[in-house]
Symmetry: C2
């Protein structure tokens, strides 16, 4: 799946900024790919792009309408259809991270067919994966792992890619979730793959590469999350990382959506090394990304100092302080 | 999914006994549910049931034609269709463990619809699973785990169910693979579930039960298999076993289908406890099932003696010597 760029970001009638966080993520990381935002009456989200209708977007070279908004239930509301169909009739492809498939809406399926356009449902890969092989491939790989879901694994991976590229390293973000795929324009939502093919999908996503090339792989779930640990383990085995970064939110006490207590960073490092060495015997932790959004700056710095001292590893908040110390360690370990 | 009994077992034109191993498994464990076998000209398999055509099977009360044979590629050959359609027209449901869906063959889909019959594709659950919750449920659960795939986890679970029932315990085999589902008449092929729902499917399969009731859960894959460990881990978390039995084939050196070396039994015990305690803090190993088919009887007994001595746990070959010692330990630990 390769989504054609540039994008027109569709925000629909998002009731708040959070509903459009997919669009916001695309703008944060790939602003150059976005010609504008398309909002319906009543839209409360604004990702800071020029207001652009379909005709104008086409004139500016847009290739894909990206549905950058979620709505309750994950289904496509009827009142979004006119603009989506207009986009298809105007020569744009459409990409969506919603649960339901675009083609399950007959008007969309017909318009795509009649106009020869592609529909990208990033939660539903069309790729036929093989089962994982487990054999070592050339190239270097970094995986972000977490003490929980939704602690900043995607953001950390994107920040690492940006910092590594800024230092001249050959690095590519590899998306494993729907928002990541829209940001990267390619990838696979591994949680939507059939269970037998999790590690195979991760191997497909991070193929043999130049020995100095880094895949910077977006992690999913947590080895300690009772709902999703199977996805996490398959992704770990398939991506066979040389290095990993643990992502953590220090104010959380239970895992997202369940009553299970949060593991410690140390437990996550230990479990990731224990499981990861099956496909990469030299796997090691190179840093800790701490999401300090809930702390003031002094508390955030104190938390990072404690984390560095406890684990002997660089720790930073990618949003607040960047990932420089982690990339320093990565470069020192792998050069 | 609940498959109506009794069964007529369809062996097609199986080129050898191995191709009909699904049917053989059903006969091994649920002979009472089988009214006969239906073989096409050239069939080289024979599972020892009376030769029975569709009309005769219906007369004897059969409710479902079970396709108990695989063919190259997992697709349904054209020359099987006449008998399958005849079964549907005669009032039988049809159940299949093949990769392709029965309803993808138009003649089958039409005959099922016209005659109001059910098509069971056991690799494709129709159930809508929730994500796993991870909270403790009443009832007792045993899971078979393995040093590898295809080491006898299903067979061990079925043997344990039989022995536990023979001793008056309230025990139910819970099938997690296509052959197991056909043997049990219900269950879910967890490797065919979408990755996000592996542990949720396992929770659905082993719901809250009487405190003295045992679910005896068929394991899948291995925590040390680089292709399938994600499935294994999700099944472990979702089934939250109180007890587990390690299944092992002592002559194997690499994991099935890949170059990864086999783990030791001790590594599997350690990793299963380490991961399993996330959803059941008191998880423990109660025995080792050794598949000694490749050894003569003296070597098999010596292997079992070594295994008992090395791990301080009962060890037996379920096929050759039964699972009595393992159930002894289970009863001693949980009474």
């Amino acid at each position: 799946m390769e989504i054609a760029k540039p994008y027109l970001l569709f925000l629909g009638d998002a009731p708040d900024a959070l509903a459009a966080k997919t669009a916001a993520g695309v703008v944060d990381w790939r602003r150059d790919w976005c010609v504008g935002q398309l909002r319906l009456p009543g839209c409360k989200a604004d990702v800071g792009l020029p207001e652009t209708d379909v005709a104008e977007a086409v004139a500016r070279g847009a290739k894909t309408l990206v549905i950058g908004v979620v709505n309750a239930g994950g289904v496509l509301p009827e009142h979004w259809l006119d603009q989506i169909v207009l986009a298809l009739e105007s020569g744009l492809d459409v990409a969506s991270g919603l649960h339901g498939r675009l083609a399950d809406t007959p008007r969309i399926a017909e318009a795509a067919k009649a106009n020869g356009r592609l529909l990208h449902d990033v939660r539903h890969s069309r790729e036929k994966f093989a089962t994982g092989k487990g054999s070592k491939r050339p190239g270097l790989r970094l995986l972000t792992v977490g003490t929980d879901c939704s602690v900043g694994k995607k953001y950390a991976a994107l920040a690492l890619e940006a910092e590594m590229r800024a230092r001249g390293l050959d690095a590519d973000f590899r998306a494993t979730g729907q928002t990541g795929v829209l940001i990267a324009g390619r990838g696979v939502a591994v949680d939507a793959v059939v269970a037998d093919f999790i590690s195979g999908a991760a191997e497909w996503l991070t193929p043999a590469a130049d020995p100095a090339h880094w895949d910077v792989v977006e992690g999913q779930g947590s080895l300690f999350h009772p709902s999703f640990a199977g996805v996490t383990l398959g992704l770990l085995h398939g991506s066979q990382p040389d290095a990993f970064v643990v992502c953590h939110e220090p104010t959380r006490t239970t895992m997202r959506g369940v009553a299970t207590p949060l593991p410690t960073i140390g437990q996550v490092i230990e479990a990731t090394v224990a499981s990861g060495r099956l496909t990469n015997p030299t796997i090691r932790c190179v840093g800790i990304a701490v999401n300090t959004a809930a702390l003031d700056e002094a508390a955030a710095r104190a938390e990072l100092d404690r984390t560095v001292a406890a684990h002997g590893l660089p720790a930073s908040d990618p949003v607040r302080f960047g990932v420089g110390p982690i990339v320093d360690r990565l470069v020192a370990e792998f050069s």
